[in-house]
Amino acid sequence: MTALAMQPWGNYAVALAASVECLRVSPWTRRATTPETLRLGVEASPESACLPFKACTGHFIKAAMEGVEYGVMVNSRGTCRLRYYREAHQKILDERGWKLRIFGLGYDGIKPPLIRHFDPDPIPFLQCCARAQQKTLAVDALEREVWRVRAIEANRGDATRAMEACLADLDRARTVREIRACARTFAPRFAAVPTDSRRVPLRVGLVGEATLLRDRFLNHNLEEQLGGLGVEVSNFFLLGDEMRNIFRIGFFSRNSRWTLRRIARPYLDALVGGHALESVAHTLRCAREGFDGIVHVAPIGCMPEVSVRPILQRIARDTGMPTLELSFDEHTSSVGLTTRLEAFTDVLRQRRERRA
């Protein structure tokens, strides 16, 4: 069967895999970049390209090596360089003689090029979309459970293991009914994880560039590291919210683009590309809702996220909520990162103790 490669989008890989069934292709994806794909990507990409670019190049090269014919990637509009990335990846693959055609998910007519190419029948297509949507929402819910439990788990790694088990079941669920039934098992399963009730977790928001927020390899297991330090994270890239925004559903919902623009307005009144405006809005809202701190992640050289850093610093000054800025490239050392995270949680804990 024809295979279609999709970018590694963390736990959402399960949902993405479900979304392409109706195209009569077999999905090829990974939960995270691997050391091998990153090495391939770094070799093939321009030195100054950002980390997600390199990781994605490597991912598609690896797919081509395994005989995958097609790929699909997000190819956003707006002011970020991401809009050129599909062309750049394609050119790199072509020059190196790999026969893999990448579709972008952009708009150039009513149907996206991918749908035009495979031309699925409308009814199975819509059913498939419904399943993918349900799985996405299920993963959103799962993520929230993991963040909460990981900060207070009695035995390190239990929450992650519970998450893996849930994901495996979710992957097997086929119909909308099965998916919903599976999602209902998440809460009881996490409730069964032994926790240490004496621990009072810190609450930290994770904002910034989407690939880094989702890819556990690229962000050096940021969520797990923070969880191990007793931090309940809220990662503000949730694909369910993102989908709603892409399809313009839920105008007044909590994380709609419109709502976030309104929140960010006192500090940023323009779209600067990527998820930078979202970073500003979520930071402001976290401050209002009494979060202990914010961790902002960005690839080195990421135009949108780097351009909002001074704004985030200003918000930190105005609200008194500490912000940690982390920049990543393929040379980022885990040691330096761990030191920063440990010191940051020390700051947050002392701050909380003093206010109490």
Partner: protein, 323 residues
């Protein structure tokens, strides 16, 4: 009754520091030595030296580890507290100068600025992708000039009109320095120029956007270089204090943190660890696609702990726990 001590060890990229403090938190013994690429050997040597300096009936009531190799060393010596160096340095700085508001800590490969208000760390910054504002920069330039750090320090203090040197990058600094030598600048002015370049680099890159409020403490290995202190004072226009024990503040802080944790009983494995055969071996964890290299720390044939791995599940696991 025999006296109680608390031990602190700071294992960095360049230096291994050890501090022993007494009941009242006062420094009783400290040492600073180079790591020379083998942290375990450096730790054993430091322990051997400390053992000779202590009365024979002294009791170590707790041990703390810090520095970039804190996990490795912490497991090897049996530390009660393993703390990052930012918190350790801040803790020691507050102890010696309770009113401190800014700490510049410049080590071998890392440089950090820590902002403290009312004795509590409120913000910090750390160098990112470049070592230009760190001790390694000066080390490299001193080697090129065939000067020891002591000479470098003495020469820098003699300089009357420092030579401007491009200090953004060690490589370009070298070409600029050679050029300045060839045009005929005096060596002491070049050396002071280097100190200024480094300090400027630190202030521009590490401290960018941070509020630098006095009193300012300068600590870490680089604080031994008086030229750096002079450079900071000239650039900031205010006094910079190099505290007592500035070179071993990390270890001092680690000892203070161990004392504050008040472990009962301590996990410290004793000074005799210096005679043990401490070594490591690695294996790769296949639980996920990251394939992390896990380091096992062995004492003779028995595993005393593990470190490495991105998810942290191997950190500090004791012998006997399942893989």
């Amino acid at each position: 009754m025999s006296e109680r001590y608390w031990l602190g060890m700071d294992m960095g990229s360049i230096s291994a520091n050890l501090a022993l403090i007494g009941e009242g938190g006062e420094m009783r013994f400290d040492l600073y030595r180079r790591v020379d690429g083998d942290p375990l050997r450096a730790a054993r040597a430091a322990l051997a030296e400390a053992r000779t300096a202590l009365p024979t009936d002294a009791i170590v009531a707790g041990a703390g580890a810090t520095g970039s190799a804190r996990h490795l060393i912490g497991v090897a010596i049996g530390a009660d507290t393993i703390k990052n160096e930012i918190s350790a340095h801040a803790c020691a700085a507050v102890r010696l100068h309770p009113d401190v508001r800014t700490v510049f800590e410049i080590g071998g490969q890392d440089s950090k600025a820590t902002m403290i208000r009312d004795g509590v760390v409120v913000d910090f910054a750390m160098n990112l992708v470049c070592a230009a504002g760190t001790g390694s920069f000066l080390d490299a330039q001193a080697k090129r000039l065939a000067l020891s750090i002591e000479d470098l320090s003495a020469q820098a203090m003699r300089s009357v009109s420092p030579t401007p040197i491009a200090g953004r990058c060690t490589v370009f600094a070298e070409s600029d320095m050679i050029h300045k030598q060839q045009v005929g600048h005096r060596q002491e002015d070049i050396v002071m120029g280097l100190c200024l370049a480094m300090a400027r680099n630190f202030l521009n890159n590490v401290c960018a956007g941070k509020e630098i409020a006095p009193p300012i403490l300068l600590q870490g290995g680089v604080s031994a270089n008086l030229g750096i202190r002079r450079a900071f004072e000239e650039l900031l226009g205010q006094p910079v204090i190099v505290p007592r024990h500035a070179m071993v503040m990390g270890a001092y802080g680690a000892a203070l943190l161990a004392r504050a944790a008040n472990p009962a009983p301590t996990r410290f494995r004793g000074f005799d660890v210096c005679e043990h055969h401490l070594h490591t071996r690695t294996f790769s964890c296949d639980d996920c696609a990251n394939r992390c290299e896990i380091v096992e720390i062995l004492d003779g044939d028995s595993v005393v702990g593990r470190s490495g791995g991105r998810c942290g599940k191997w950190e500090g696991r004791q012998a006997g726990s399942e893989r």
